[in-house]
């Protein structure tokens, strides 16, 4: 039975537009304004010039930099900012979006084609937005005999676990959502959730191909988690800490990859396997098991899983940077001192007429934070590039060869790495009383 599209009529168009306007107004008033109010109440308002601030005056202040900047600075010191914006979800999602675009363009260049081209006029830069809108507007279809609560939970769980992983990554000195002493252990704990979610997806969709995909994901992740953990033990031995920020601070003079290249290689291969990227994309092997454990997911459920997997990619690349490449450490590329003119002379909006002086909020960021972030992003981009590259070069491996790589080769290499670390410590090169 086919559905014939109705002929175009102006009345339908007007009705559609008015309907949209109606719903936008309703949703804005019902959801938008309460959300803004809640957010504003969450912030501790400063007392500036003896004025007591309330949420309504904030709107007024946003038009005036002299009043807005202290508010922004104040907001940036809250936990909410860390979670939603800078080292947390917003920053990671922005990098994930950039990674999707770069991946598509880079793969296209490798394969002698152009990739996304039309959307957004300039080299298809808005393609991701178009894809996102498409995914949102698609119908969500759930198999009739699926375990519905679990099936609904899977995409949310996946994105949330990836977000939890992102929260553990220190981006700049002091800029980390969850700065806990057992940071590396927490990373292992979060990674351990992913196989459970994938097997949940395979089981709850009550379909054959997702089930095989879920089982494959379980095998793959479990067998690669062991060399992944073992390859990081060397660093823990050398630094004597599990706190990720302290591990970064221990690499001020040299990154650990100089002493532990084997560990870095093992960790990198394990990253590829954990991320289910080619050549280890067996759980989603298209020509064998359709789309693996993602087969029955549709619409934004699939979109959430994809978002989660790219957040995971960012988090793993960032973890590689933190552990092996020295995190935010790097030479100064940003001015060490804040720009003195702005502090003393103020912001000149119009000469002789509108000069804003003595702004209490400046500088918004400490200088070492910006410098550290620049280095962190550069290094992360380099690692992400190497994670994306195999997709254009390698075919998929088979499950038995994959398990052989994981259990025979990588675990042995990871132990070799541990022995190197032991030799460095007991040889008196690194560690307490060492040469370096």
């Amino acid at each position: 039975m086919s559905v014939i599209a109705p002929k175009f009529r102006l009345g339908y168009l007007v009705k559609g537009i008015t309907d949209n306007i109606f719903w936008i107004i309703v949703l804005l008033t019902l959801i938008g304004i309460p959300v803004v109010q809640i957010v504003l109440i969450y912030i501790d308002f400063p007392v500036i010039d003896g004025e007591i601030w309330n949420p309504f005056r904030v709107f007024d202040a946003m038009t005036h930099p002299e009043r807005a900047l202290p508010l922004v600075k104040n907001f940036m010191q809250t936990d909410l900012f860390k979670v939603v914006a800078f080292p947390g979800f917003g920053f990671a999602a922005l990098i994930a979006a950039a990674v999707i675009f770069v991946e598509r363009k880079m793969l296209a260049k490798l394969q002698l084609r152009v990739g996304p081209f039309y959307c957004g006029k300039v080299e298809g830069i808005l393609q991701l937005m178009g894809d996102g809108l498409k995914l949102i507007s698609k119908e969500i279809i759930i198999p009739a005999k699926a375990d519905k609560p679990l099936f609904w939970a899977v995409p949310v769980l996946f994105a949330a676990t990836a977000g939890a992983f992102v929260a553990l990554i220190p981006v700049a000195p002091g800029w980390v959502v969850a700065d806990i002493d057992l940071g590396l252990l927490a990373v292992f704990a979060v990674i351990g959730f992913f196989p459970i979610i994938t097997i949940l997806a395979g089981w709850s969709s009550n379909s054959k191909f997702p089930f095989i995909g879920g089982i494959r994901a379980l095998y793959q992740m479990v067998s690669f988690e062991i060399p992944l953990i073992l390859s990081l033990l060397g660093i823990v031995m050398l630094t004597g800490t599990l706190n990720l920020s302290e591990i970064v601070e221990s690499q001020v003079n040299f990154p650990w990859i100089i002493f532990m290249p084997i560990g870095a290689i093992v960790f990198f291969i394990c990253i590829l396997a954990e991320l289910e990227r080619i050549p280890f994309d067996l759980p989603e092997a298209e020509s064998e098991i359709v789309a693996g454990w993602l087969t029955e997911l549709s619409g934004m459920m699939y979109g959430l899983v994809q978002l989660g997997s790219y957040l995971k990619l960012y988090a793993f690349a960032a973890l590689f940077v933190v552990l092996f490449l020295g995190g935010w450490n790097g030479p100064w590329v940003y001015p060490i001192e804040p720009m003195a003119e702005i502090i003393t002379d103020g912001i000149v909006i119009m000469p002789d007429a509108l000069v804003i002086k003595d702004i209490p909020g400046l500088p918004l960021f400490p200088q070492e934070m910006i410098n550290g972030t620049i280095w962190f992003i550069l290094k992360t981009a380099a690692v992400i590039f190497f994670i994306l590259l195999p997709r254009g070069v390698f075919p998929r491996v088979r499950i038995d060869l994959l398990l052989k790589i994981g259990w025979y080769k990588l675990i042995v290499l990871a132990f070799v790495n541990i022995f190197i670390a032991l030799a460095l410590v007991y040889g008196g090169i690194i560690g307490p009383g060492g040469i370096l």
């Binding site: 394969q111 084609r113 054959k208 050549p279 020509s287 064998e288 390698f394 075919p395 088979r398």
Partner: protein, 384 residues
């Protein structure tokens, strides 16, 4: 394969107790709506990761080409007979034209014979590139999907210049070829074929010498020399199993006996050898095209005049050629009418499909695409 003894298939009535084999065994319907199947269905039963039973189920794209041929005369049969393999259309029309020429007693002009060889070899490369692209994406190698599809455009452009159509050329007609080539075709063809050959060599770096590919396809789906002959396989599958059989050499048609080329034979008989033979064949095709361009008469007629609705005698003919997939034959029965009384197409795809259950059973599920597509099988052609 594991040591467990599986129930023999003959104990089960076909199609009746298909689910009741064993609780351990899961039936997978690979296709027709599966990205790794093509226009067919493969019913696979797996025990864990091992395939214990394979049942190919073609027939989803049956178009009745043979019956259609009985209602059209010898000339109007041409455009629909190439439909089973639109990207190898010259080679599927080749045996038809040879057969009809034998029926009608036509003598093909010398220049048309060389043009036929050039068109057939170009089309063989076009087909193999398409096949190779799908082989690449079946193994998860997306660059090997894009490169052959891109390089195929070179030859498609050449065929476009020659015949006026990118695919479905309908270039071969009984008594020659449909039209002559444009004036500067020889130079363009030589240049593009040389560049194409240079590109082919790069496939080794990215695909054939790739250690992961070798570890995946070596020693999987091994077809021994005896089995290859016994099962009636043909073309690249047969030559990968160590049988030196190429119709262009064994039963040369048109001007193939004057051409300078060799047959590629590999002894291994595994998926890797089967995937490598067509790639090696493309180099030989380039050699043949260069040779034919050199030896071709520079001018002359390319088509003999025919009466409208020519009638054949009261005989039958069978002619076969080496297509991109193997020996492709056509049996034409004539009863003195302007149309064939019966036309039977013997397709290589179906003959290679027969080997599939023998190769897949006992393999791992992950090897399914690698073995399946290495059989050089085109589902539409098998269904005709």
């Amino acid at each position: 394969m594991s040591n467990q003894v599986y129930p023999k298939d003959k104990e089960i009535l076909p199609g009746l107790q298909i689910e009741k084999v064993d609780d351990r065994i899961m039936t997978l319907n690979v296709g027709p709506q599966h990205p790794g199947s093509g226009h067919m269905r493969i019913i696979i039963k797996v025990d864990g990761d091992y395939i214990v039973h394979t049942d190919p189920d073609p027939g989803y794209v049956h178009r009745g080409e043979e019956k259609m041929a009985e209602y059209r005369n010898y000339i109007t049969n041409i455009p629909h007979l190439e439909r089973p393999v639109i990207h190898d259309s010259c080679n599927i029309l080749y045996p038809y034209c040879l057969g009809v020429e034998e029926l009608l007693g036509l003598e093909v002009p010398e220049r048309a014979k060389y043009l036929r060889v050039i068109a057939a070899e170009l089309n063989r490369c076009v087909y193999i590139e398409y096949w190779l692209a799908i082989y690449g994406i079946f193994l998860g190698h997306s660059t090997m999907f894009m490169w052959p599809v891109g390089d195929r455009e070179l030859l498609i452009d050449l065929l476009d210049k020659m015949t006026g159509a990118r695919v479905t050329h309908a270039y071969f007609v009984p008594g020659g070829v449909r039209n002559d080539v444009p004036p500067n075709f020889e130079d363009v063809c030589l240049r593009q074929v040389n560049y194409f050959e240079k590109r082919l060599k790069e496939y080794a770096d990215v695909f054939y010498d790739n250690p992961i590919l070798i570890s995946r396809t070596k020693d999987t789906g091994v077809l021994s020399r005896e089995d290859a002959i016994k099962l009636g396989t043909t073309g690249s599958v047969l030559r990968a199993s160590g049988v030196d059989f190429d119709i262009r050499k064994k039963e040369p048609y048109d001007v193939y006996e004057e051409m300078d080329f060799q047959t590629n034979v590999l002894k291994a008989g595994d998926s890797y050898a089967r995937s490598k033979i067509p790639w090696l064949d493309m180099f030989e095709s380039c050699r043949i095209i260069r040779d034919a361009l050199k030896k071709m008469p520079k001018s002359g007629s390319v088509r003999v005049k025919l009466k409208p609705k020519p009638k054949g005698g009261d005989t039958e003919v069978y002619r076969r050629v080496e297509s991109g997939r193997g020996s492709l034959g056509m049996h034409i029965v004539s009863r003195g009418l302007p149309q064939p009384y019966r036309l039977k197409i013997s397709v290589p795809s179906f003959r290679n499909l027969i080997a599939m259950p023998h190769l897949l059973t006992g393999e791992k599920l992950g090897n399914m695409p690698a073995v399946y597509w290495s059989l050089n099988y085109w589902p539409v052609e098998a269904d005709r």
